[in-house]
Every structure is written in C-alpha cells, then in structure tokens.
Symmetry: C2
Subunit: 555 residues, 2 copies
C-alpha cells in the first residue's frame, strides 16, 4: 500500500495547527497544535488601543513545532508519503518586508517594534485611515475601488493598516520595500522564494482586502493612493498585479525547510488563502449553501457562478472575489464582528465580583473563582433554554464589536432594551443569543435581497460543535435547517484539500471535497412556531437598529 | 422642668417606626422600629404578578411594639408628657372596610384573603383598571378628574386598586361597605372612632390619589364612576366629601389605646398623610425648594403659594393638592419609580453566579456568597467613581420600574446603549447612576417648564445619607446644590411636627418646622465642568427616551 498524505496548515489567532490527511479518504491521521509564544505572553499588543501584532518568529517556530508534532510517532515512511502542503491564515494580517521579503521584525534593528510585525486581523488602530479611504473612494471622481468589497472599507484591512504604519513609524516606512499578507508569506517561506516582486499572492487576500480586481488591472490606481496620502507614493509598484487561486502551486518545498521539517523537498506548496475561505471548502461548501464559521466572531461564505453575479455589485458585504473560495466561481464573504465574544463579554460581566471582590475576602481559595466562572455559560444556557420566546421582554443589538456586515461600521455599538427590575441574567443572556442570531439573519437577508440564493446553511467552528442552545435559536431565527460539519478542523482540512489539488492528486477542488470531505454529523431544524414568533421579533430588531444607529455613533 | 413630647409614627414599606420628640427642641429622645411579621414572611404577596398586600394586624401589632419600644427605659413621666401623635404611612395603600370601619381581613371570614387587606403602594395588579380610568377621563365628555393629578392616573392609586378588587373578588365586593387609606385608618383606630362615614380623611391621600378636588365638590361624579364600571355604583356615597389637612386633629387618643400603649387618653391625634409629604416637612421644605426623598424610588415634593399656581394645571406630575404638604399652600408631588432599586437590580444581576452556581461548588461555605454580595455596591461605587464622564461610552434609561414622572407610564422599561466588549461592570453601574440622575433632572425641568420655580434642592432618605458618589453625580446633573437633611428620620419627624401642631403647641406647621427642624449636615455643590458635560449627555438621554418610548411599549 502506498498511501499519500497532505498537510493542512491552519494559522489561527492564537496558534497554528498542522493536520496530516489521507488524500484518498480525507481521514485525519494526526494533528498537532503549537501556540504562539510571544503572543501568549501578550507581547507587542495594547488591547486598550486595540493594537494586536504578531511576531513572525511565532509563526515560524509554531509551524515547525506543529508539523513535527503531527509527524511524530509515525514511521519515517509517512513523512515520505506527504505530497503537498496547503496553508490558511487569518487576514487581513499584513506585514512590512525588506527587498528580500523578510519581515522587518526578523531584522535585529526591528525585532521588538510592533510596527515591523504582522498586524493581526482584529487590530483596529487604523480606524481613521479606513474612514479616509471610504471618503476618498466615494468622492475622488474616479473608480470606487471598494465596490467589490461591499462598498465599505474596513480598518481591519490591508491598505488602512499599512497606511497607518507608514504614518506612525518613520523607520519602518524607510525600511519597508514591500508588504505581504500572512497567507502570502508562509507558502513563500516554505518554497524558499520570498522575493516580494515574484511571490505568488493570494487571490483571496488581494480581492477581499486589498481592493485588487481584474477590472482595473490589479490594485487601485497610483493616483488614488497618492491622493489618499503622498506617503503611499511608489508602494504599489513593489506589490503585485497578478494573483493566484489556491489550487495553484506557490512553489515547492525548499531543501532547507524540507530538512527542518523532516519532509521531502520539492513537494507542492499551495497558494495560501484565508482561514474562513478554506474552512468553507473543508466544511463542504457548494453552490447556494451559506457556510457560517461560528466562533468568537462569524465569517459567512457563499460561492456563486459568475453567471449569477454577473456585473452585480453585492452591497454591504465584505467582498465578491473570483476564485477566493473555489476557483471558477465567485466567493462572497460576510460576517459578524462578535458572536461567541458577546456571550464571553456577558460571562466576564457576571464574573466581575469574582475577579474584583472574591480575592479580597479572607480565607477563600482563589481557585473558587475559576470553578464558578467555568460554569457560568453552562448554567446560563441551562436557565435561558427554559424561557419561552418573548418571555425575556428584552431586545438587544449585537454590535458590541461594531458591525462587520451588512454594511460595515465599526463605530456602532450594542444595546439592550426592555430592562425591568425582573430582568435576570438568564433573560439577558437569551436576549444576547437572539441578538447574535438576528445579526446572522440580517446577513442572510442581505444576500437574498441582492439576488444571491441560499437553500441551505452549513455551520463550522466551535459554537456549532458545542452549543445546542445557540444553534437551535439560530436555526429558528434564520428559519432554515443548519447542518453541522463533522470535522472540527475544517480550516486545516480545507487547506489540506488545496494541498492535494496543488500536488496534482485531484484536478478540481470539487473532486478533492468529494473524496476528502467529512460530511455532516447533525442538523438543526427550525421550529415552525418559534420561527414565526422570531420573525416578528426580528422586525423589531431591525427597527431598533435603524432607530439607534445615529445615536450609537454619537455616543 | 415640664418637658413636652410628641410621637411621630412612620409606617414604611417593611416596618413602622415610632420616635419620641421634644416639642421645644425637636430632639429625638427615643426611637424604635417594629417589622411587619406577616409581610417579612412574604405572606399574601405574589411578586411575579406584582401583588403586594399587607395585613392590618401587621400595622396594629407593629404600632404597639414600636411605641412601647420608644417609651421603654424612660420614666413613666415621659409617657405622661406626650401631648400628641402624628402619623404618616405609605400610599396609596387602600383597604376595604365594613360598616364599622374594620378592615375585612380582621374578620375571621377574610383573615387570609389578600383582597381584604391593604393594597400596598407598589402593588401593580391594577394596570388595566388604570388604563381604563385614563381612557374614560379623556373621552367621557365631562370633567377630566385626573387633571389635578398630573393628567395620568396610575395603577398604584386608590380607584384603580379598589376597582380591581371589586372585579376580582365577589365576596370582598359584597362585604365592603367603604374603603380607607392606611393613613386614614391609623388615626381613626387610635381615636377609637372608625365609622367610615365620619373619620377624618387625609387631604393628602384624597387629593393626590383619589381624584378628590374642591372644584368638583369632592370625589369624581357618580356618573363617571358608573361609566367606568357599574360595580362602582354606590361606592362613592360611603366614602367622603370633606378632607382634612394634618395640622388638624383626627381625634383624641381613646381609653383603650391609651391603656394599650401606656399613654394618656385624650391627647391629640393628627390627621394622617403620606410619608413623603410629611417627610418633606420634617426635612425642612420651604417655598421654591424641591425636596427629594431618595431611596429605592424617589418622591419629589414642592410647595407653592396658591398665587403661583392659580388655575394652572401642572402636567405630567403626580398631583397638585391644596394643603397636602403645608396647609395653605399647594403641595406638588412627583417622583421616580426606581432609584436605589436600579442599583439593587444591577447588584442582583452580578450576584447571579453567587446565587446560582456557588452553592453547587463543593467545599465552599455558603456564607461566602453573602460576604461578596455585601461588597458589590461598595466596590462598584469605588471603581465607577474613578471613571471620567463619557468614559463609559454608555447611556441608559432609568425606567426599569416604569416611569412615574414626568408623565406616568408604567409600561415603559429601561435600556442601556453603547455596549462594547470593553463595557465593564463599573462602567455600566456609572451609566445607571447617571440615568437615575437624568430622570431626576427631567422632573426638575418639568416643574420649571410649568412655571414652578426651584431655587434649592433638599435631599432626604437612605441614598442622601449614604452615597456620596450618587449624590455628587445627581448634583452635577441637576446643576444645583443639594442640601442633605441632618435627621435620618425626616418622615417620622414630620409626623411629630404635625402631632405638635394638632396638639396646639404651635399654631402653624412653619413654626413647628422652625423649632423642631434638624437642619442640614452636608451640601453637594455641582462641579461646573461636569455640569456642562452632563447637560450634553442629558440631551442625548432625552432623545434616547423619545426615540425608544414606542418600541419599549411594544416589546
């Protein structure tokens, strides 16, 4: 038997995971996670300013540890049988690099400078720059380069972030030859070819976050960029014009990295893409399916044939990009800035006496606080699930981390209305869960309004695996069945599928999905009666949001 | 030395207090509290339905215990030197009585029937009846009998409550000859003259809560009442036409009660009134002073000369009644349905894990929960006071128990907007404190808008004595100095002052105030800079309220 394997490499927010997958069956032979060391110590971040940076060494060391961890304990043969590597990362997570494509933070001079590191997706330091981009795009008289990205540029994205660093840090500005996305850089490193002028850039990252589009021949016009800020003069020429989908090879594994990882040199390295997009593939995305990756926030992915989208501009979402998910179809991205994070916030709120007062009480073991806190969400779920719809008397807006879609606006905030002296913690929790699901419904409705059909919902990610209560309410509110993907590592599995295609095992992503997909292990069906009640409450949610938008912005 | 004393009897929500006061100096010689026994066991109440009833025996037993407690330890002489008793109670707290003026619950047949007991001020079972009264008053074509009570009748008031009981309980309906307010009944009992047709009814209760006004010769027209519900036919004729201010005697202490209490028979018993109104007198009310009784809720009292008010109808408040506070002037009442209760709600919310989870953790002494809970408001105050104005990013509506004034609407609810993942417990607490103070400001503004001048604010009650943080924010938001009365028992002290006037010691309430008043022990001055910032936030509060009113009603 000569089995073949691919490695799926999934760079998340806190850690990198490597899975070793049988290319014939999709079976996960091994899996290993490595946490980012500097990140876990809180280095280079300033949460008060929403500054979140990651050191490139965290990625390199983590990648080596994770891949070696996955191979460990297997015979040497298995390393020989690995034929390709696929890579997904968070994004937009860009970094300044020098002429050789080396992230500046790897140079001694910049090793502790957060501006010389990767600017993590959730870094919100560039709010002002995003506003300027939006304003200029609508007013400069030329093409609106945001139009294939939902018409609203976010502070979480490429150009806002690099402009912010160029303005803030003269040394980085002078040393930066070019910029790479995290998902561009890892395949380049593995291939040993990091020249920023020739590395194969991700279509997914470029199209969704960098205003790249074939219609205007690539990145936005130099004139537009210079109008935005003269500091951007010349930046574009050291970036890229061509982009690549992840069924293509970024390169082949270099001798150096082959040795370092214990793999064969020359195996295929697929072009990188974002985690949600590869996760959607790993989770079984097909046409007319909305794939929701449900965790602290959500990412919602749809693919549609070119014929369906045509010249249509889908407003209010995070982009429509040819081949960003499945080559040959348009990948559409949306999402909510907070989902599980809303529940975590409420848990933290209720934990306040445990964090602030319990340690001051004499004779209490501080571990008690942790024991109680660990049970808060479980108990809240238990109690909230006993309540009937509308029994809370509450209505909430889920924008506690701003609104990603529909129509990105990071200046929006959350709200809870209908509070009485009888509003208990489980009631408020239920209202918050409903609010996040209403936010999900608003995205579905936006797609439908724009002519993109949805006939099924597929859920991936932590919440879909763990929280029946949230999933059932989401199904009731969406009024659609939600299928939950069996694999708990759909991002890494999707990356592995791309690795298999890039290695030539399959000629299309669809075939890789058919052979390697994990299927679904559960379906949540909407309850008809609940769905009707929720439809009415959803209309109140929409009205509340419309009514409060301006006031929330002006707080 | 032949000292003279009066007893101030203050019937609160949970207990009755008796204080023994020197009529010359106002010094409090003794004080004693008795808790209502049945009430403290939760009997006859159903908080889920907002049903709150009190058994008349709780009042009688409590009164005896409190007065005896205050006299205990003094020589017999002191009991001989008591020349009068003044009485205040909560209200509107009516009860059905038989032909002899005996509350039905004192009859064996009704001893456990909540409908035969006093319907406590905060009982909200009559929401529907209040709505019907409001509708009819505006539509029946005759006089709007609510017009001297702010134009909106509340479910907390006399007619709504008695109509509710008449509808709900056939037995009580058949046995009820008449109805008394708590503050009518106690002086009648002490005087030994409880005939409902002749007892001296409180002007304060009648004018503020029973739509009594001289203009229409007393209570509302029989025609109006029967239109409201034929069950009300004949009820009016067994009530009253005349009402009395509390400088007058309700009667003289009966032999029976003199013996029971150890006092001299024949001493003056003043006509009763509500706690807030007598509290305002005890706290030093004068013209152009707004007196705020600040506790779980607030009651706001102003007195104005007849010339100032004239024919003017002050909209949106709880009534304008000639002599309800100080005889010869118009007493104006307003208030907030929740003040301290808002903070207590938030404390309870944060206590949820301590109440629901801590008891399930093995090896933890359950007293730990109480220790932590006792510190929550202290610690919240400590942390919230470190925050700058607008640092919370939050705005709240204080209507968690409905809105009493301006413009009573018990269907309104609370709200918190501006929530982010960084909204901590102290930030939310501060926003809630600010919201209650904004509610207070809305009342001040309402008076001023209606032409009633306010040149000083006097605060009484638990919050004014205990919470610097709340008081300073209230002063900043009202943008007025707030003087805090020295006496912690201003209601009982006010009752004692009326006892002294009824006994003929002083010929006016003003003179009793001058001699017996406790003065002020503290003044909170507004910070100019804060006041300016809060003015802007107050405008946002008003806008938020206007914007959300309809949505809150329709939740």
């Amino acid at each position: 038997m000569n089995k073949k394997y691919v490695i799926g490499l999934d760079f998340g927010t806190d850690s990198v995971r490597a899975i070793l997958v049988n290319v014939e069956t999709g079976e996960e032979e091994a899996s290993s996670v490595a946490y980012y060391k500097r990140w876990s110590e809180g280095k280079y971040c300033d949460p008060g300013r929403n500054q979140f940076r990651q050191h490139p060494l965290d990625y390199l060391e983590g990648m080596e540890e994770a891949i070696k961890g996955a191979l460990k304990g297997h015979s040497e043969d298995i390393a020989e049988q690995v034929v390709g590597i696929g890579v997904d990362t968070t994004g937009s997570t860009p970094c300044a690099v020098d002429r050789e494509g080396i992230p500046l933070a790897l140079l001694d001079e910049f090793k502790d400078n957060p501006n010389a590191m990767f600017i993590l997706w959730k870094d919100h330091t560039a709010v002002k720059e995003a506003e300027e981009i939006n304003k200029l795009a609508k007013s400069w008289g030329g093409e609106d380069f945001t139009k294939y990205e939902g018409g609203v540029y976010s502070s979480e994205w490429f150009w806002a972030k690099i402009l912010h660093v160029l303005r803030e840090d003269e040394k980085v500005r002078e040393a930066a030859f070019s910029w790479v996305e995290h998902c561009d850089w890892i395949p380049a490193v593995l291939s040993g070819e990091t020249d920023p002028l020739t590395i194969r850039r991700s279509r997914c990252a470029a199209g969704h976050k960098a205003m790249w589009h074939e219609k205007w021949g690539g990145l936005p016009d130099e004139e537009f960029l210079v109008k935005l800020d003269p500091l951007l003069k010349g930046v574009k020429k050291n970036l890229y014009t061509e982009t690549y989908t992840s069924d293509e090879k970024a390169g082949e594994l270099s001798e150096e990295w082959a040795e370092r990882l214990g793999l064969k040199p020359g195996i295929a390295i697929a072009v990188g893409a974002f985690d949600a997009h590869m996760g959607a593939v790993g989770g079984g995305i097909v046409e007319k399916a909305l794939v929701k990756i449900m965790g602290t926030s959500t990412c919602d992915i749809i693919v549609a044939p070119d014929e369906v989208i045509g010249d249509k501009l889908i407003g209010g979402i995070c982009g429509q990009v040819d081949g960003s998910v499945i080559p040959g179809t348009i990948g559409l991205e949306a999402g909510q800035s907070a989902y599980g994070d809303v529940y975590a916030w409420f848990k933290d709120l209720l934990s306040w006496p445990l964090d602030s007062i319990l340690p001051e009480i004499e004779g209490i073991d501080p571990s008690v606080a942790k024991k109680i806190k660990d049970k808060i969400l479980i108990k809240l779920t238990e109690e909230a699930s006993k309540l009937k719809i509308e029994e809370t008397g509450l209505l909430a807006l889920d924008w506690l981390n701003g609104r990603r879609t529909p129509y990105a606006d990071q200046t929006l905030k959350g709200a809870i209305i209908g509070l009485t002296l009888g509003s208990t913690a489980p009631k408020i929790f239920r209202a918050l869960v409903e609010a996040t699901a209403f936010g999900a419904k608003a995205i579905n409705e936006q797609f439908i309004k724009e002519g993109v059909e949805i006939d099924q919902v597929i859920a991936l990610g932590g919440i879909s695996q763990k929280n029946d209560f949230v999933m059932q309410i989401t199904a009731d509110i969406l009024n659609k069945p939600i299928k939950v993907a069996t694999s708990e590592q759909t991002c890494a599995l999707g990356a592995a599928m791309f690795g298999a295609v890039a290695a030539g095992i399959y000629d299309t992503v669809k075939k890789a999905q058919e052979k390697m997909g994990s299927g679904f292990n559960k379906t949540y069906y909407p309850d008809k009666e609940n769905a009707e009640k929720y439809q009415k409450l959803y209309e109140k949610y929409l009205l509340l949001g419309e009514t409060l938008e301006d006031q929330l912005r002006n707080l």
